[in-house]
């Protein structure tokens, strides 16, 4: 194998697997000359994938689904043969909003139910906070809305949700243009480091072991280059293993800190990698599975993840519910390509393509091909369960 693959990415912690695949030589070992191109917006990632500047890209998990559903302008047909980790986001609020929430009993343990109830009480006093997310088709938008709605806050009425680019979030918060946001690291820690915001809850607390970024691949490129794609997936898998090893965290943080990659201080990147998150300066607490690059099948493209994102697109009026649309979402994710590519590595692979999300309350060994595999816990904070076999029932339950 000898192929050049060009990948677009955004300056976020969860570009780690792509960056490590190149920097630690995992791509080269598979005969892949992996070129990484840093971009400024998801729109640019989408456009440059569409015109063939990029073969693959670091993408928000719902983006490829939105592409295939025709919700994005100028998008190429996009497939997801691999995920790029679980978790990694948090919700940060301004100091004035935190004061209001604290007055209403917000706790400082990232508990989504307690902070959500406090936010609801603050809103009842007449506030209408403005929250920012990174994109309409993002895990951030859906988990923020999920959290708010489960706490009795109507995302389209009680708060305003706008879009702001991740690196500009903390400045927008400091300037008072927004009151809170949901973003990937290091852009929550950035607000804490600058003393302009407080982390109130995390993606891992809202939905444990939940999907975030994926490898989006132009379908045409994947069809024309199956061997290069398989080699790339093996390289990324090995890079994910490396990223998940505790002994590599310092090196990974330093690598990501470089101006060509995330371009932020290494000390802003370490909290997500160690899972020790500072809600405010000096208030550090452990968040189990804050960001999981490889363990718990973190790179497996579960069709149940695709269908959950689809369910939220329907829930928030982005797309109509139909059997055809559900099928488009389901077929966007390609666990078959993942399995075929990784088979030669002899690693633990899930036997199923989908699972019931939220069913595991503890880490559970599951049936897998080859070596043993542990999944979960994967619960939603409100105790709901998403069974992809009962999609329609889930859709009508909101």
């Amino acid at each position: 194998m000898n192929a050049r693959v060009t990948a677009g990415f955004l300056p976020l912690l969860d570009s780690a697997i792509l960056v490590a695949a190149r920097q630690k030589g995992f791509a080269a070992d598979e005969g892949i000359d992996l070129a990484l191109v840093r971009e400024n917006s998801w729109a640019s990632i989408r456009d440059r994938l569409a015109v063939g500047h990029f073969d693959v890209a670091h993408m928000l998990a719902p983006m490829p689904i939105a592409h295939n559903l025709g919700l994005a302008p100028l998008a190429a047909r996009t497939i997801v043969p691999m995920a790029l980790g679980l978790g990694g986001n948090a919700v940060t609020v301004s100091l004035p909003l935190w004061d209001a929430m604290r007055a209403h009993g917000a706790t400082d343990d990232f508990d989504p139910a307690a902070t959500g109830a406090a936010l609801r009480a603050a809103i009842a006093e007449g506030q209408r906070p403005r929250f920012a997310v990174v994109h309409p088709h993002s895990g951030h938008n859906y988990e923020l809305r999920y959290w708010l709605a489960a706490c009795g806050i109507a995302p389209d009425a009680d708060v305003e949700i706008v879009v702001v680019p991740p690196p500009l979030m903390s400045d927008a918060l400091a300037a008072g243009r927004i009151d809170g946001y949901c973003v990937g690291e290091p852009w929550n820690t950035a607000a804490v480091a600058k003393g302009v915001g407080r982390i109130v809850t995390t993606k891992a607390a809202i939905w444990h072991s939940s999907p975030e970024k994926v490898l989006g691949v132009a379908a045409g490129w994947a069809e024309a280059n199956p061997d290069a794609l398989a080699a790339l997936l093996r390289a990324l898998y090995r890079a994910a293993v490396w990223c998940g090893e505790a002994g590599n965290r310092e090196e990974l943080a330093a690598m990501l800190a470089a101006p060509d990659h995330v371009g932020a201080p290494a000390e802003w990147l370490l909290p997500a990698l160690t899972g020790r998150i500072a809600a405010a300066a000096g208030e550090t607490a452990a968040v189990p599975d804050f960001f999981v690059p490889q363990a718990k099948a973190a790179t497996f493209p579960w069709k149940s993840h695709a269908l959950w994102f689809y369910s939220q697109m329907v829930r928030w009026g982005q797309v109509a519910a139909s059997a055809r649309n559900a099928s488009v979402a389901r077929e966007t994710y390609r666990p078959d390509l993942y399995r075929a590519a990784l088979k030669p590595l002899g690693v633990a692979l899930p036997g199923a393509n989908a699972k019931v999300e939220g069913a595991l309350t503890a880490a559970t060994p599951v049936g897998s091909a080859g070596a043993s595999l542990v999944l979960g816990p994967d619960g939603f904070f409100d105790g709901r369960i998403f069974d992809p076999e009962r999609l329609d029932q889930y859709l009508t339950s909101f």
Binding site: A43, L74, P136, R177
Partner: protein, 200 residues
Amino acid sequence: MSAAAVKILIIDENRIRAAIIEEGLREAGHAAVTVIHDVAGIARRIADEQPDVIVIDLENPNRDMLESMFQLTRAVKRPIAMFVDRSDSASIEAAVEAGVSAYVVDGLRKERVKPILDMAISRFNAFSRMARELDEARTELESRKLIEKAKGILMKSRGLSEEAAYALLRRTAMNQNRKIAEIAQSLITAASLLGPGDGT
């Protein structure tokens, strides 16, 4: 509706590039061109201007924000699509290549928009070329200054004529397969380390 009636909004943080595009569009007979450099308060501006075509540089980090605004808010009365015609892939490729993205209100005819997009693409390319040339000119000027300084050091420390000093720099550069300016820079650095007077 005459050609001049198409309302165009240019969003570009780079004032020079924005001016170049604006000038091109005005020369082509488009009188209704508005330029903004800062996306703060953009929803209000778009609501006020009601543009038919929005041109923005591809690298602008606020494109996700703009696109979500086009999709969601009441700021824009008519739906906005990206580019004119998805089937016109050559045009789209040229635009992305040049670093232009354009949003067009639904229903505006392709013949009306294509010349505007083509103009934006050619002006973006012209700007990139100009920026590159300016960069090269600046590098060239810096190189000349370094070589002059290095020649001076050699003339003073080794009693060489100007021609001999230059010939020595050039020969060294050729032997080491490096640029003369790089050799000059090394010499200046070395001289400043070795002793007062000869260096900077």
